[in-house]
């Protein structure tokens, strides 16, 4: 088959080619414009956005945590300090095989399941890449050396030193100092934005006690450091630095010597001792036993240690001095007596006959005195010295619950004392309104009679008892217990003014007779004393133990015994210390709690040679009106452990 012969038409072909060339040139120009447009969009329109992204890449703002303020006692003894803690950190991105690296580390130093669990949690939560994650703290010298030797096998691993809170006195101050532990996401959630910023470099947060209450003073101001890093997180240079402002040191009114005396005097018994200086509200000793080791909590308490504390029947984590609600028993008789005197329902001269019980007219029920056969003829002073129940039944009944309630509130019974600690229990000063609201029941005469001897619905904390005692020792002048040596907190209530101020002196002398007369219930306490003191003992009846708890019979029997209480102050003529002691199941206030209070007083009122020497009160600043303190909330925990009949 023949094809038609087609000759190449060169002229036509060149014209066609030129046309196509023109199209190609046009295409090149259009596509070039597209590229220019794209680049211009990135470099002009989006310039600031990408500048930010670029800076975010390279500039890392590191928060620098301020060193936490130290805590000392009134004499400068260190109670809380910061110590370097060596921590092994791991930048997981630098480790090609994380499991392999972890295995190698495990062969060098022990890692607990807690360590690994915490590490895993922090590894998988939101964080900046290349940022090292702490794996194990509290490295010993030997462990650090072992890691250093094998460093080349552990890509991304490094040992860093960071300050960690340390409480050199361990158990001694556990309940009053409290402790710091790891700042949690929840803590941050509860903060304002400014606070969150200030905590951006902080790892620890005051959790309980003074550490919690004065967190704002101890923490300080965060510092910042802007550094330039490369893509692998290596810091190349520091661009800008604003150093942190260290937290303020905190001097407490506590006295190591007095605290130690209280702690030792209580011994292994469960109980609480609180001592304050009535002149300035200084808290001299604040002990609740058993205590705990606050150092265990700082870097994260192990499950085992925490379970041990939680399951202990003696509740070492429970702050008995601040939150334990106990019937005050006879310890409040001096205050109740003053209420009766001031209301005019009794006088110092008035006597009653005590047959060993009190009963209301037309009612056969007998309210028994602790002394079965009675005290015979009793006046106010004898009623206080020998702790005659019948006298107070009679007086209280005639006084009535309303006047009793209003007067006792003045002693902070049933109200918070305002100490600079959180979660203070308010105890309970019963009233008609309270019983209506809490029990939905009317007030009965029997309730009044029980309240007259500090039983019934009346509940106080050891702290409230010591404050009430200090107010009495101060002739009604209010005392706000204050741990910080340089703060003055305004009184929460007006001073108590008696119609006859002489009653203060006479009541204090009656309390002096409790310890210094040979019929007094607290006479054991004043043996060989170099100064005169006033006191009032008491016992509080235990009515139930927690139902969820299991005790063996012997233990149960022991835990049903009365709590021993005593309140005291000294010297009588010019009181410089008030002490309240509560010994759980201690049975006898005078002979068990009394000697404890005496040792606390001696520690405060005697010098090194055993001679009386009253220390000067602290020079506190004048009252500030605004209370910087966070809101106090009442903790009802453990309130069922003890109560009145």
């Amino acid at each position: 088959m023949r094809q038609p012969l087609t000759l190449k038409d060169h002229h036509h072909e060149h014209r066609l080619f030129s046309l196509r060339l023109l199209v190609a040139v046009a295409l090149v120009l259009v596509l070039s414009l597209v590229l220019v447009g794209r680049m211009a969009w990135l470099q002009i329109a989006q310039h600031s956005r990408f500048t930010t992204l670029s800076d975010n890449n390279r500039v890392l703002t590191q928060a620098m945590s301020p060193p936490r303020g130290l805590i000392t006692d009134r004499n400068g003894e260190i109670l809380a300090v910061n110590r370097p803690d060596f921590t092994l950190e791991l930048a997981v991105e630098q480790s090609a095989d994380l499991n392999d690296t972890l295995d190698r580390i495990r062969r060098l130093i022990p890692l607990t399941d807690d360590d690994l669990e915490r590490f895993e949690r922090r590894r998988t939560s939101a964080r900046r890449p290349w940022e090292p994650i702490p794996l194990r703290g509290r490295l010993t010298e030997e462990e650090i050396a072992r890691i250093a030797v094998h460093q080349h096998e552990l890509p991304g691993a490094r040992v860093t030193a960071s300050p960690v809170r340390f409480y050199p006195h361990s158990h001694l101050f556990s309940h009053v100092l409290g402790y710091v532990n790891r700042l949690s996401a929840e803590d941050l959630d509860n903060m304002t934005l400014a606070e969150q910023r200030n905590y951006s470099g902080t790892h620890y947060y005051g959790r309980t006690g003074v550490e919690r209450y004065y967190e704002h003073r101890l923490h300080g101001q965060v510092g910042y450091r802007q550094v330039e890093t490369n893509a692998r997180g290596r810091i190349l240079r520091v661009l800008e630095e604003q150093p942190p402002i260290p937290g303020g040191d905190l001097r407490l009114s506590l006295d190591l010597k007095v605290q130690q005396a209280a702690y030792d005097a209580l011994g292994e018994r469960r109980g609480a001792v609180v001592a304050i200086d009535p002149r300035d509200g200084s808290v001299l000793a604040f002990v609740s036993r058993p205590g705990f080791d606050p150092n265990l909590f700082v870097t994260g308490i192990s499950h085992k240690d925490y379970a041990r504390y939680q399951q202990d029947h003696d509740h070492p984590l429970f702050n008995r001095a601040l939150q334990g609600r106990y019937p005050p028993g006879s310890t409040v008789k001096p205050m109740l007596g003053l209420a009766g005197l001031d209301a005019g329902v009794t006088t110092w001269e008035r006597t009653i006959h005590d047959p060993g019980y009190f009963s209301l007219e037309g009612n056969p029920h007998r309210y028994r005195d602790w002394k079965r056969w009675g005290h015979g003829q009793v006046d106010m002073e004898k009623a206080v010295v020998q702790s005659c129940d019948t006298y107070f039944y009679d007086m209280g009944f005639r006084l009535g619950i309303d006047r009793m309630h209003d007067f006792m509130i003045g002693f902070s019974i049933g109200e918070a004392t305002g100490i600079d600690l959180l979660n203070e229990s308010e105890g309970n000063m019963p009233s008609r309104q309270w019983k209506r609201a809490a029990r939905n029941a009317p007030w009965f005469h029997g309730d009044t009679i029980n309240t007259s001897i500090g039983q019934g619905f009346m509940l106080t904390t050891p702290l409230q008892l010591v404050v009430a005692t200090a107010i009495l020792a101060n002739d009604g002048h209010q005392v706000v217990p204050t741990l910080a040596a340089d703060e003055t907190h305004p009184p929460r209530r007006p001073d108590i003014v008696l119609k006859d101020p002489q009653n203060w002196e006479r009541m204090k002398h009656a309390m002096e007779a409790v310890v210094h007369s040979n019929r007094g219930t607290g006479r054991v306490m004043a043996k060989d004393a170099r100064y005169h003191m006033g006191a009032k003992s008491g016992t509080a009846q235990v009515f139930s133990v927690g139902q969820e708890e299991t005790y063996n019979e012997e233990e149960l029997a022991e835990r049903m015994l009365d709590h021993a209480l005593i309140v005291s102050f000294a010297p009588v003529e010019n009181p410089a210390i008030a002490v309240a002691v509560m010994v759980e199941n201690g049975r006898h206030g005078g002979s068990v709690a009394g000697p404890v209070a005496r040792q606390v007083m001696d520690a405060w009122l005697l010098d090194e040679d055993g001679n009386p020497s009253v220390p000067k009160p602290l020079a506190r600043p004048p009252i500030q009106n605004a209370l910087p303190a966070p809101v106090n909330t009442t903790a009802a925990a453990h309130s069922t452990r003890t109560a009145a009949q």
């Binding site: 190609a24 590229l35 990408f50 390279r58």
Partner: protein, 381 residues
């Protein structure tokens, strides 16, 4: 034209070679050469910064440039008919080597692209085809009437897609597409009818999604996914493109200054001295730097098109236009991918990116352009 033509100066019969400039005697095209050297010099400056001040890298790149220029010089001496003569043979050998690569090639980065030749070292046959395919298609059309008949179009398509498919099987889809483009440009310049072009575009639009699901490998699909949404995996697949856009965008109009680009200096920008070197340029020299580079590129391309327009026979014309257009496609694809307009394909920025055989191939193609331009015959009437 400022250039003195050697033929014209000797038309009196006298051998006046001493009167002709060196460039002419060496069959070089001064405007093209100047633009190429300018690009290379600028490229070395950017490379110095992109490699973190590594003089070693710059020297090795300069040596490669030297080798490429040598190849360019050699090719420029050969008359275009030599290329035309050898085109079928080189194409055939290239095809055979591609088949060999599939069978016995050396694997690198999950793809078989290299052929280890004893004594010579590793060699990428696909690189050879970047020149052989347009030359072969130009050869195919050189004796046929244009615009091509449907039969000839079909024939040329076979020539184009045989190597394309072999390269795509390596798998190296990016190079395959570039080589197909080089061949298709020849077809377009030869006068492929607009109706067929329209049809091809239609088929491509329909086939693209099908390709995505049935032809592409997983890693290629990831690249497309990343292109469509780089934020889906900002620290993984999307990292490159996010960081390169950040580098370019943060450069602004004037740039951060030479060696002051934080993105590349602090290693946030991967591949900063190879495929993504444009991001370094954009960051350190800003929009102005990019426009300058583009201007020089357009001078090269314009000169290339001029050479093809001036070429005297079909083969030279088609080859020159195709090589020039291919050069532009490299520029467009690289800038497009680095700035986030196109998916990431491994295409270097011509004469700026560090590395490899691509420099030699590129300069070889410019050698051919110069040959085409300096071997024209002039007939005086």
């Amino acid at each position: 034209m400022s250039q003195v033509d050697p033929v014209r100066t000797t038309d009196n019969g006298g051998h006046a070679i001493f009167r002709t400039p060196v460039a002419t005697r060496l069959h070089l095209d001064p405007p093209l050469l100047a633009a190429l050297l300018l690009t290379m010099l600028g490229g070395l400056a950017v490379l110095y910064s992109a490699s973190g001040g590594s003089l070693d890298t710059v020297v090795r790149q300069a040596i490669r440039f030297g080798g490429g220029l040598l190849v360019m010089l050699v090719l420029a001496q050969l008359p275009p008919r030599t290329f035309r003569f050898w085109a079928p043979l080189v194409y055939g050998v290239g095809l055979a080597l591609l088949a060999l690569v599939i069978l016995v090639g050396t694997e690198a980065k999950g793809a078989q692209r290299w052929l280890s030749l004893p004594g010579i070292g590793r060699f990428q046959p696909a690189e050879l085809m970047k020149l052989a395919v347009p030359a072969m298609v130009a050869w195919f059309f050189s004796d046929r009437t244009l615009p091509p008949s449907k039969r000839n179009v079909l024939g040329s398509l076979v020539l184009i897609f045989l190597p394309t498919v072999l390269i795509a099987m390596q798998p190296d889809l990016g190079t395959a597409l570039l080589i197909a483009a080089a061949g298709l440009v020849v077809l377009f310049m030869a006068g492929l009818s607009w109706r067929l072009i329209g049809l091809a575009v239609l088929v491509l639009v329909v086939a693209a999604p099908l390709m995505y699901f049935f032809v592409l490998h997983d890693y290629q699909r990831t690249r497309v996914d990343t292109f469509l949404n780089p934020e889906a995996d900002p620290r993984g697949a999307g990292w490159n493109i996010i960081q390169s856009k950040t580098a370019i965008g943060s450069g602004g109009i004037g740039g951060k200054g030479w060696q002051d680009g934080t993105q590349s200096r602090l290693d946030f920008l991967p591949e900063s001295h190879t495929d993504f070197i444009l991001a370094v340029l954009g960051e350190e020299f800003g929009l102005i730097g990019f426009l300058l580079l583009l201007a020089v590129y357009l001078v090269i391309i314009g000169r290339g098109f001029f050479i093809s327009w001036q070429a005297q026979e079909t083969f030279s014309r088609l080859l020159a236009a195709a090589l020039t257009m291919t050069f532009f496609i490299y520029v467009f694809v690289n800038v497009g991918m680095v700035s986030g307009l196109l998916p990431v394909v491994g295409v270097p920025l011509p004469l700026v990116s560090y590395g490899g055989t691509s420099i030699v191939t590129l300069l070889a193609s410019f050698g051919m352009l110069m040959s085409i331009h300096t071997h024209r015959r002039f007939i005086n009437f």
